[in-house]
Structure formats: C-alpha cells, structure tokens
Symmetry: C2
Amino acid sequence: MNLYSLDAWFEKERKNIVEDYFTFLRFSSISADPSFKKEMNNCANWLLDYVKKIGMQVELLPTPTVPVVYAQDLTAGKDKPTLLIYGHYDVQPTDPLEEWENDPFDPKEKDGEIYARGAQDNKGQLWYSLQAIRALYALLGKLPVNVRLCIEGEEEYSSSGLISILPQIKEKLKADGLLVPDVDIVHKDVPAITLGTRGIVAMEIELIGSSTDLHSGLYGGIAFNPNRSLIQMLSQCWEESGKVLIPHFYDDVLPLTEEEKKQFDFTLDPKYYEKQVGISVFGGEKGYQPLEASWTRPTFEVNGIGGGYFGKGFKTIIPAKAIAKFSCRLVPNQDPKRIVSLIRDFLEKNLPNGIKMGFKEYGQGRAVRGSLTSTIAKSASLAYQEVFGKPCKKILSGGSVPVIADILKEIQAEVVMMGMGLNSDNIHAPNEHFGLDRLKKGFLVMAKTVENFGIGK
Amino acid sequence: MNLYSLDAWFEKERKNIVEDYFTFLRFSSISADPSFKKEMNNCANWLLDYVKKIGMQVELLPTPTVPVVYAQDLTAGKDKPTLLIYGHYDVQPTDPLEEWENDPFDPKEKDGEIYARGAQDNKGQLWYSLQAIRALYALLGKLPVNVRLCIEGEEEYSSSGLISILPQIKEKLKADGLLVPDVDIVHKDVPAITLGTRGIVAMEIELIGSSTDLHSGLYGGIAFNPNRSLIQMLSQCWEESGKVLIPHFYDDVLPLTEEEKKQFDFTLDPKYYEKQVGISVFGGEKGYQPLEASWTRPTFEVNGIGGGYFGKGFKTIIPAKAIAKFSCRLVPNQDPKRIVSLIRDFLEKNLPNGIKMGFKEYGQGRAVRGSLTSTIAKSASLAYQEVFGKPCKKILSGGSVPVIADILKEIQAEVVMMGMGLNSDNIHAPNEHFGLDRLKKGFLVMAKTVENFGIGK
C-alpha cells in the first residue's frame, strides 16, 4: 500500500474527516469535574457509533465512573499479530477560560491549526488513528492485522474506571503490540517514537488554622496563618537548586546506562523554549540538561495553591484555610505508593502544632519504558521514516499515561508511544491547538505502522 | 441627662432605628471592588439625607474616588469644645460567599444578633453614634458641644479619596477631640476605650514564569514553577517561630515603657480563642503573649495566595504565574514607606533568575497612639463606667484605621477610639454580626461621652 493512495483517500475524505473531528471536539468531555458527566456519556456514545460505522465490532464497557469505548476486528486471523490501540476521549479542564481566544468547545481554524480543548490531546491524535483504520478498510478491503481499540474517558484524571475493570476485560485487550498515539514528535519535521513516559502521583493538602476567616489586624500576631504554614512546609520540599529534599525521594531512581545515554539525544537549541513559551532560563534540577531532566528525572511540582483572598483589590484577612495541589513525575523503578507515603510523612512531620491537615490522593501510575528492538517499535519507526523521508529519532516523554503501566501488567505486550504533537500545542493550557497538516501526517504514519506490523517489519 | 431618659427615648424609637439600620445595611458598599461604585454613591446619598433629617448641616464632599459624607452643628458656640466623629460607610468584600448563612446584604436577625456585611464594621457602630446625636437633639433641644461628622467610603480599601482632600477640608475637621467609634470592648460586660491602633501596609506580587500555563509532564524539570518561587521567596520572610526575617523590619519598634506595661492588661483566658474561632494554639511571634503581640508587635501576613488550578479535581499544569497579597501591621514609630521598601528590596534580592516579578502597593497608614489623660479619653472612659457600672479598661487594638493618623496630622486633636465590637463578630469574614443589645449600649455610651465632653469631665 503506497503513500500516494493513502494521500488520495485522505484528500477525497478531507471534508468529512474535518467535519466529524469538529463534532468530536464539541463535546465538553472534562473528566476532572463531575458536573460534565452527562457530556462524557454523550461523547462516548457518539464515538461508539462512529467506530461502528467504520466497520468494527463495538462495545461500550461500563465502569464505576465513565464508560470505555471498546472495538475489535480479529478477522485478520491467528497467523497475524494483534495490535491494541489505546486512546482517550476525555480532556483537561479549560480554565483560565478568559485566556482562550475562542470557546474551547467551539473549534476554530486559524492558519491551518485547529484551536479547541482536546484538539491535540487526545481527540486529535485519536482522530487520525481512526481515519487510518477507515482507510485500511477502504483500500485493502480488510485490516491487515487484528486490531483492538480501547478508548477510555478518564486519562486526564486518574483512569480509575478503566483500571478497576482491567482484570475483567484483560482477554479483550490481549495483543502483541500496544500502540499509544498520545505523544509528541521532536519538531515539525523531525519524527520520533517515544519509548517511555514518566509515572505520576497527585495529591492535595488542606491546612486549617481556624473555624472562620479572621481579621488580620485583630488576629495578626495571635492566629497561625495557614498561608504561612503552607509556604513554610512546602518550601522545605526543595533546595534552591530545584533538587527535591523529601527524604528517600531519589532512592529508587536508576542512573541511565551508557547505551541509554547513547540512544537518547538531549541536545536542544537554548532559544527553543523562549520562543515557544517564554522561558528564558532553565528552571529545573541543576546538573541536568533540560530534556534529560524532563525525560529521566522525577519532579515535585505544586500545580495549584490557593488561600485567602486573591481577587481584585485587597482583603485584610487571615484565611481559615489554604490548599495546595501537587504532583510528582516518576521514573522507572519508583513506586508511586512509596512516593506518596514519603511525601505525606514528611509533610505531617513538618506540620506546625495548631494547624490541622487534610490529605487527599488523586490518581497515580508507574513510569513506562519500552524496548527499542520490539516489532511494534520497528514498525512505527519505519513508518515515520517513510512518511517524513528521514530517520526516526528515539525519545522519551516527560508526560505520563499512567494507565499504560496497568494495561501492560495485564497483557505483557511490547509498547511504543507515538504521536504528532508538538510541545507548542498548549495541551493542558489555554488555546490548545493541532494542525491539519499533522492530522494528515499522523494518519499516514498510523496506516503505515499497522501495515508494517502485519508483515513483521 | 440621665440614662433612664436616654433608654426611654431609644425604646420609643426602637422600631425606626432598626428599620433604618437594615436599610443602611442593604447597600452593598464594597470599596475594594470598583464594580460597586454606583452602590457606594447610593449609600452616601442615602446617609447624607438621613443626617440632614437629624438636624445637622450636611455636605457631600467629592473626592477623586467616592464621596465623603460631612455634617456639622457648631451652634453650641465658641466656649464649648468641638468634637469630630469619624466613621465609614464602606464595607469589606463578602467572599467566600458560600459560607454565609444569609445574603450578606439582606440582614437577618437571629437571637438578637443582626447578620449582614457591615452589621458591626462600621455601619453598626456608626448607627448608634447617629442615634445618640438624634437623642441629644430630642432630649436637650440642641447639641451640648460643637459636632462634626466625617463619614468616608474607603476605609476598608485605602481611604485614598479622603486622604487626597484632607489639606483642602482641614478647616471642616478642626476639633478638640476626635472620636472613632470603630473598635471593640474587651468582653460583652467589660468596657474599654482604645488608645491605639496599628498601622498597615498592603502589597501584592505577581511572579511570572512563562507566557502560558504549561503541561507539568512535558515541562516538569524544565520550566521554573512560579508557585515554587513564590513559596521559596516568601518562606524566607519568617523564621519558624513567626519572627519576621526581613532585614531591619523591627529596627524602629520601640519597646513598651514600664508605664505602658502597667496600663495594658495582656492576660486572657487561654480557652478564649478556641471557643471563639477554633484556634487551639497561639500561632504568633514567640516570646509575647497573644494580646501583647496583637497590640504592640508588627506582623507580616500573607492574606491571599493563588497560583495554578485549585478547583475541583486536579489539573497537571505548571502555572504561568502565581500571586500573593500580603500586609504588615505596624506599631508606633514604624514608617510605612520604609517597610514597603524593605520588603520590596528583600523580595527582589531573592527573585530567582528566570522569574519576572510585578509589584503593586495598596493603601498604607501609620499606627496611632492616644493619650490617657486627654479630656476626650476621660469623657469616654467615664461614659462607659456609667453605662456598664464598672471601671473602663484601657486597651490597644491590633486593627488599623489608617486615615486617623492622616487626619491627626492635619488637626492635632486628642484622639480616642471606642466601640461596642467583640472579636467574635466575624468582621471581615462570613456571617458578620452585631447585637441589638450592643447597639443600644453603644448609643448610651456615645450620648454620655458627648455630654461629658461638653462639661469637660
């Protein structure tokens, strides 16, 4: 199957592809906020119908939270390998909403880029994957390998629904290769497959000092200000250089092998981040290059702090409480449960007498590291090379797809992460966008990857 | 003029007094938020009409911001002293609104307490003061001293409007005694006059790390998290004991004299704050008793911090920016301008390379300390003793009425602060309230104070 026929099919279908993509983007499928649960269900049902029309056997798998869209076509037969493609139909929250230039759920095109929440992560990347399957049916009459799709609705939150049903549905997920189209290439013209993602743990603390907000004059010097406690407790979590000071945090981190150091190219134009997102100085852990830190080192980041009045004007209060939400990115061999317990113990030890602390865990997941020599890695790498006309780099991602480690525990498949994202796409941020040129290139790469996988190359 | 006739007058007028008090409370005169400017003007005009009907000469004094309600009656003549009463018709913001049990601008009575924003601070205290003047007209036919009223609309924000016109209106404020009914008594049954308030400076910083919120996976380890910078910079402002570490912060603080130590009684039931507002442990500067710290020591309090996502659920971002609003309470001899400059220099020195800082000042004011031997202090003290039937304590307040220092710079009057507040009134917090019993007692004290001042006792 040559690239010209795939290209021609895409152009013939372009109008439908883009229209249906916009429809997909219009669902405000925000998993973090329970008030969007109905939209989540609408989105899942719409997607199920769409995949059914493509020609696959579909099934909506209920979970304790939101449903998983499952599909399979095993007609390639037992002598062909089985490919599992994982994706997610949920998206991140949209605030600060006032920084969006359009309604995040009313997609707009500008200079070939589509602006919407989920335009890239993960609806866009899922979209070209589905189009590749449509094209394979249209051009080959049938799929060249057995294909299973597992599209969940909680990747941006915790994947708790899918994870809770994994043991029951493991037969449905059985595959030789697991393909996760949810990551980035290096540059617009530099292809890459991703051989690992970091793990993650996410937590929240609430510090309570009094039963009500207090007047900062009458109580200033008397009451313990929970903002001060929050600041003083969290400040002890890092040294100034950015190194995490929570005891034993780095205990299980394995140093890179010489082979890994050779495989992964950490060099980057120092002006790159300044141009992309206005960062002029590397702010990560000292002693590491930016990409090395992002790919191979764990972090402790405060994702949100809030305490007292920070609206317009000024309010002279000592707040009753203050909260912080924070998360760690983890590397292979770090155990999420252990990290949560180290952090919790450290914070509890540093809690001042007179302040009460509430502690809450969000989702967690281990890091994933795939093998460079697996068939699926080679198939994808070759597909990128065919489409881009240049060698495919092997990289890691600082991001996390926590559920992948859980799936791999059930099915022991080889894994590769791929994608057409750029780190200028503003995923998880206002004005997320994805290019129609990349939607098409992703389609070509995905179709060729599936074909390559079928002939074991 | 005996207390019985004052009491009888109040009871005869009670229905009108309470009805008009509720009308006054219904104006959402929030000075910190410019969107309430129209309500501020409506409130000022309604108040002007009310004071005019009492029988005083009124004038609405325009300022660059919101108007000042001014009134005078100088018919007592040149051989009588002149009393200036200062108050404010503006109130604090109301959030967190969800913690109010009623609409803060729809007053409700419960067990004799009136719940509304401003019920005490300062509309309630102003209200009994105006009723005292009404009663003096009714019972004596005329006022026993020359009286001026200066009721501004920005005390909770910065008093910038009034301060800017002070040099022009100083003749209107000329008085022998300045009475400020805006503070607390010690307990429900323990009367006190307040001989000093602390000064205040208020500031805001905004730390900017990038041009947009960033994905905490892709950028975690690369970008400088402004939440971390905020935490690390502010944590250096105190030692663990609560002592402020900003260099030279305490330089100008004068120790209490032996006489002052004798005058002010800092003892307090340790269970008091736990019962009132749920504070079980003293959280202020070590080495001082709670009241001593609140009355005589400066503070550095973070009134609000906000950065990233802290709503429902979780958002794995590194925020583009983080803000903190903070204020200091100051004691006599500390210069607000110098304190702001010390803090700003300290923060700028500790700003990490790669983070930009915005700095904003809000209002500021010096501490005030009145003399125990002035006529107005003696008049008020005696009035409390007459109404409560027990000696009147002499206390200080940890709060601030910044404009008082500015007024005193123009008119050199003796000053005393008085009031009927309790620190359980939740001023500046949800469910602010004031008791009708205290409204009446405040009325009696105010009427007697004016009368005592007229006969120089």
